[in-house]
Amino acid sequence: MDWELFWVSLWPIVRGGLVGTIPLSIASFAIGLVIALLVALARISGIRVLSGIARFYVSVIRGTPLLVQLFVIFYWLPSLGLLIDPWPSAVIAFSLNVGGYAAEVIRAAILSVPKGQWEAGHTIGMSRTTTLRRIILPQAARVSVPPLSNTFISLVKDTSLASLILVTELFREAQKIAAFSQEFVMIYMEAALVYWVFSLVLSTAQSRIEKRLDRYVAH
């Protein structure tokens, strides 16, 4: 192990994570969740056209490689006259990707809330929308935190593909240093370590959110 190189390269890699990986992940995840909720609601809406479109979207996103999704948005859309900058392209691709996966999580979470809860809402005169917002979604949110955290942690590492569309993030910084020093194994392990530390922080956040959402449950 070349410890000097390790310490010298640590900050550039962490910085790549702070200015690239983290903002990219957070923005994509936030937008992805909105997409996912809409898609999940479309799927359980009972309106055939809506649920059909939602089903098709989920199928395409889950059935094709993320790399291709990135390439389509960044390298193919320009041929239709749509030239999107690297960062927005990355956010679009990752959001759509998260949307596809998280939609299924959210759908399952909503369906896991007992039917009686809907009926209870109806009985006390709540509209379907109000019941969904006030009764169903809070319970579904609690159920979906662990699987959504999985999706998020996967996303953090998937953003390493963004270097293919000119976005500089954690892994790209590591590649630059590895290519310069020819120390591929060590530098990539170092990058993995930084990803891992980021994931540990995220897992801590996950358990806090879980605890907070537990207040909806009667023990």
Binding site: V8, S9, P12, P65, L67, V68, F71, F74, Y75, W76, P78, S79, G81, L83, S160, L161, S163, L164, I165, L166, T168, F171, R172, E173, Q175, K176, I177, A178, A179, F180, S181, Q182, F184, V185, Y188
Partner: protein
Amino acid sequence: MRKKLLSTVGAAAIAVSLAACSAGASDAPDAGAEASDGLTLAEVQESGELVVGTEGTYRPFSYHEGGSGALTGYDIEVVTAVAEKLGVEVTFEETQWDAIFAGLQSGRFDIIANQVSINDEREAAYTMSDPYTVSPGVLIVADSNTEIASFDDLSGFSSAQSLTSNWYEVAVGYGATVEAVEGWAQAAELLTQGRVDATVNDELTFLDFEKTEGDTGLKIVDETDDASLNAFALPKGSDDLAAAINEALAELRADGTLAAISESYFGSDVSE
């Protein structure tokens, strides 16, 4: 020449097949993209900048000083000098080798400066400038290897190559079993560890490697007859811009700039 696969092997296969798809599409006469119309000098001068696609991880041609410092290297200096002659600023966009041609075709860059070797496929798909690097391919094996003394001995042995490099085809042509790698560094690693028997790459890459590593435990046993000619790649049909770039290269050659840049990186003139 060249080089390099993605960090993930699976992703690499997809990128390669995608690159193949998009190359096919642009060959079609009715490919509707503006990107295939080619660039003119006037367009570049109007925008005031030459947008250059490069890897930024390919030493000594295109890399970051100290790993995370400024972008530099032989190709970077040559293309910067060329842009100066054209009277425009130079802007670098960094991406991995397998995305570089997709970037050129979709108009993300005006030019690729990354030791792109001239071959028939590329000449059909892109406009290539005059070469600014001339380098033979070499067959590299471990010092202790006595079985492989020339390309003719390669049959039945394994060779580490990146799938999009033209050295891949050289290795396959001599009957080697190819192990896919990301680039030179991995190939050298596999060779040192004895996990493959050989690798084919250009001489400059190996010379640079020896210069930085000292005793590498590897040796050159054979050299290709034809030297690889490396040039800038431009979108197909950019004849006007290519002519201007060639003129700039000729001037830089005549006034000794190319030789000087080359000397500073390789200790010899590799520009012709």
